[in-house]
């Protein structure tokens, strides 16, 4: 069987198979890390981005509109730099296919050309040897080979094969890949998606996998303030219900579940209905005043796997109250990972702290939600992670009405000094931004962790399992002793002998005893250096040291 065109429904199946293929190789992609640090998350970020797109698009016959919904969802759900680039590739795809009911190989070719051009344009300094190169070469090398007789299968097979070839050359283009003996992780993830799409056409289905927790988690939402709803409040907004229903076997349950009639029944009780069926699981989103009716209806077919009910009046009142609140001259939004860091940035005076706890990076949507909640003339965003900068920048572009500036803080240390230099009690916005920029600038970040593999960068080398210190992301010291390693890393910082102070974020794995050891060694080796320890609770790095002069 071969296809000369595909419609929206087929495309959806293909993309889901593509996602499942990516998910089943997720750990492998995560491990393709340039640096010998166990913080690789490209596979996680790309799969979260794609699954956010697929989850937010309803099934459509027409390929173009379906792809638009997927693309919109991906733009919002984009996590990590690879996720942002993937979302831009899909934005290009849909832009070309916007009016297409079905996709032919020729249209697909044109769309994939548009895709890589869109992605290149979205990156300030495109780097070759990455997903960009592979997406470009993959289509450019076969664009002339698409004829009227080419099937979708043949086309995708050529595309995937060409991308594989391109992928194998990425280490030649990007020295850091060659040094660490890996291929580019983002490019590999992108190929896995298209190979999964092709597999679907051949009937090779990849096992559905649960994407990471972070998709459904809304860690960034501030806790709801219940004081906005009381016995005298009007109740005009109803509830927002979200659940996943597991269809069950057994006498208790109606055996025939018909999606269409289930949706018709839901319409009697609520609005804003989104229902997605995934095998024997039904994901439902609905706004209603009578949740009991929906619970009763749903339990005819099965039981709830997850269930969420929110009082929308409360959210409405709270949003209304905050919108009415005085417009601030400047609001600072910081993105962090974990409660320790959240506390640090709150205490430094950041107005909104997005905490994407766990392994995930903050997504574009997290930033858009935070941007939507603030009422200020100007907003400054501190991403505090080099892999979150692009998601923040994408959010700033999408939220175009607001005057948003992303200060590209690449580490918590850079964000710390930016926030610490801010003068929160001043109304002089320009001066405050200047202060923050001065804080970020000339900050040196040292991170200490355990090497995941042998590595060398021409200056330093390490063996897997050794303690290592990266200075501004570059391997600088390796040793069997973590403390020696940090001291050697510090000694390599130019002008360290004149540095007066530093901040040290204690990680999850750092004990009080280790803090005392480090403090002792520091005062021994750098008597003039005053160290301020704060609890960051970060997972990968035992200690992160920030120096700013």
């Amino acid at each position: 069987m071969s296809n000369i065109k595909i419609n929206g429904v087929q495309l959806e199946k293909m993309l889901k198979n593509g996602l499942n293929n990516l998910l089943s190789h997720k750990d492998e992609v995560n491990k393709l890390n340039v640096f010998p640090v166990p913080d690789g998350d490209t596979g996680t970020n790309m799969s979260l981005t794609l699954s956010h797109g697929l989850n937010s698009a309803a099934s459509r016959q027409e390929a173009g509109p379906y792809l638009k919904a997927v693309s919109d969802g991906m733009l919002l759900g984009a996590r990590g730099n690879s996720g942002v680039i993937l979302s831009q590739l899909f934005k290009g795809l849909y832009t070309e296919l916007a009016r297409a009911g079905v996709i032919t190989p020729a249209l697909f070719r044109n769309a994939l050309i548009r895709a890589y051009k869109t992605a290149y344009a979205s990156v300030v300094h495109p780097v070759e040897g990455t997903i960009l190169t592979v997406a470009r070469e993959g289509i450019e090398h076969i664009r002339t080979q698409v004829t009227r007789r080419t099937t979708i299968e043949e086309f995708l097979a050529m595309y995937a094969a060409e991308m594989r070839k391109s992928l194998s050359f990425t280490p030649e283009l990007l020295p850091v890949l060659k040094e660490s003996g890996v291929i580019d992780s983002g490019a590999y993830g992108y190929i896995l998606i298209f190979e999964g799409m092709l597999d679907q056409l051949y009937g090779k289905l990849h096992q559905a996998q649960e994407p990471d927790e972070a998709v459904t988690m809304s860690a960034s939402q501030p806790p709801i303030d219940a004081s906005y709803f009381n016995e005298n409040s009007a109740f005009e907004e109803g509830y927002c219900m979200e659940f996943i229903l597991q269809l069950m076997k057994g006498e208790k349950y109606t055996q025939r579940f018909i999606l269409k009639s289930y949706i018709e029944d839901l319409k009697l009780y609520g609005t804003s209905i989104v229902v997605v069926q995934d095998g024997r699981r039904i994901k439902v989103h609905i706004h209603t005043f009578i949740p009991a009716k929906i619970i009763t209806l749903s339990q005819e077919f099965g039981e709830f796997l997850t269930f969420k009910l929110e009082n929308m009046q409360l959210q409405h009142n709270e949003a209304f109250a905050s919108a009415k609140g005085e417009k601030k001259a400047l609001t600072v939004i910081a993105a962090v990972n974990g409660e320790g860091m959240e506390k640090v940035f709150r205490e430094l005076g950041c107005d909104v702290v997005i905490n994407s706890s766990g392994a995930a990076n903050a997504s574009t949507e997290d930033f858009i939600r935070a941007l939507g909640a603030v009422n200020a003339e100007k907003v400054v965003v501190l991403p505090n992670n080099k892999n979150v900068v692009m998601a923040a920048e994408q959010a700033a572009r999408l939220a175009e009405a607001k005057n948003v500036e992303v200060l590209p803080t690449k580490s918590p240390a850079e964000g710390y000094f930016a926030a610490a230099m801010d003068i929160q009690d001043s109304d002089d916005v320009e001066m405050r931004v200047k202060q923050m920029r001065a804080g970020m600038k000339s900050t040196v970040t040292l991170t200490e962790s355990v090497a995941t593999k042998d590595y060398e960068n021409g200056v330093t080398s390490c063996k897997a399992g050794e303690e290592i210190v990266l200075v501004n992301g570059e391997l600088t010291a390796a040793s069997t002793d973590w403390c020696d390693c940090l001291i050697n890393g510090l000694k390599a910082v130019p002008g360290i002998e004149d540095v007066e102070s530093c901040v040290i974020f204690k990680g999850e794995s750092a004990s009080d005893e280790q803090e005392a050891i480090l403090a002792g060694r520091l005062s021994e080796c750098f008597p003039l250096l005053e160290a301020t320890f704060v609890y960051g609770g970060q997972s990968v790095y035992r200690f992160i040291i920030g120096i700013s002069e």
Binding site: F417, A420, D425, E500, T532
Partner: protein
């Protein structure tokens, strides 16, 4: 013959040598130390040495508290002089930070109902060494022969010229105890960053700039003092430090070299103020041009020297 008494509450941080030399009467407040023990401020380190006190304060700030002398205590301090027929000028710590001003006012009313003397309560709008310096100037004016009306007039006219130029590198204390204008969230530790505070129109302190590290801060502060001080060679300058003696000594040396003031003292901050300011204060106090209402001039001046370059 009746005298003119200069009196100040115990937060003026003037040591015995200075109060005796200039003739100042102090009315000490109350301190609560860990374990709930209450003491009367002595303006000495007899009970507990400075370094020990500040180290412990840093560890458990919530177990320390202060209270000003109450109405009765102010009354009792004033009464012997009133009985002699002496007039009194009583200076208090900024009313924005403490109840001392109001207590002194109530004590004054009681005194004046009973005794035919003149009493003026002055809200210094300052704390600690800035306040102490003002009291010293008042005593000096009195010692030069100025009378009750002239000294009170001078104080009201000139109190806005008492400057603070220095840093408070641990803002958690002032934020917690509400001694900083706009203190919203400054609880975080500031690794090496020196927030530079000046007295403001609320009788509190406002951060007008931040310096990365002490070296940059000294340089900017010296230029800032140069741009705001008047007749430095005629001045008594105080350098206050809570637990920053080495830095204060460095600052003193730099100021002496540059301005050659008439006198310069490094002054400890005793627990009455120290408990609320914390261990991170290091600042110079001097008389200069009147402080602007919105601190706009001061901010611009300081930041010109801080050069927060991008």
């Amino acid at each position: 013959m009746s005298k003119l008494i200069i009196m100040a509450d115990g937060t003026c941080d003037l040591t015995k040598e200075l109060t005796e030399e200039y003739g100042v009467v102090t009315v000490p407040g109350h301190l609560v130390f860990p374990g709930g023990k209450e003491y009367r401020e002595t303006l000495t380190w007899d009970a507990v040495p400075r370094d020990e006190f500040y180290a412990d304060l840093k560890k458990r700030p919530d177990e320390y508290a202060t209270a000003p002398a109450n109405v009765e205590e102010f009354y009792l301090a004033m009464e012997p002089y009133a009985a002699e027929g002496d007039d009194m000028i009583v200076c208090t710590i900024s009313a924005a930070m403490s109840g001392a001003y109001n207590f002194a006012l109530q004590a004054k009313e009681k005194i004046c109902r009973k005794y035919p003397v003149k009493v003026q309560i002055i809200d210094s709008m300052r704390f600690g060494p800035g306040f102490g310096l003002m009291v010293l100037y008042a005593a000096k004016k009195r010692n030069e022969g100025l009378g009750f009306d002239e000294v009170t007039g001078w104080l009201e006219e000139n109190k806005n010229r008492f400057h603070q130029a220095g840093w408070l590198d641990d803002l958690s204390f002032v934020a917690k105890k509400g001694r900083l204008t706009h203190a919203k969230a400054f609880f975080g530790a500031l690794a090496g960053i020196k927030p530079i505070g000046e007295f403001d129109y609320n009788g509190m302190t406002t951060v007008i700039g931040k310096a990365k590290g002490a070296k940059k801060a000294y340089a900017a502060l010296l230029s800032y003092i140069e741009g705001t001080i008047e007749d430095p060679s005629e001045q008594i300058i105080f350098i206050a430090q809570t637990n920053r003696l080495p830095q204060a000594e460095e600052f003193k040396k730099l100021i002496e070299e540059k301005f050659k003031p008439k006198a310069i003292y490094i002054k400890d901050v005793f627990p009455s103020c120290g408990i609320n300011v914390g261990p991170g204060l290091m600042a110079a106090y001097y008389v200069g041009r009147p402080i602007s209402k919105d601190l706009g001039f001061e901010r611009e001046l300081l930041n010109k020297y801080l050069e927060a370059k991008e």
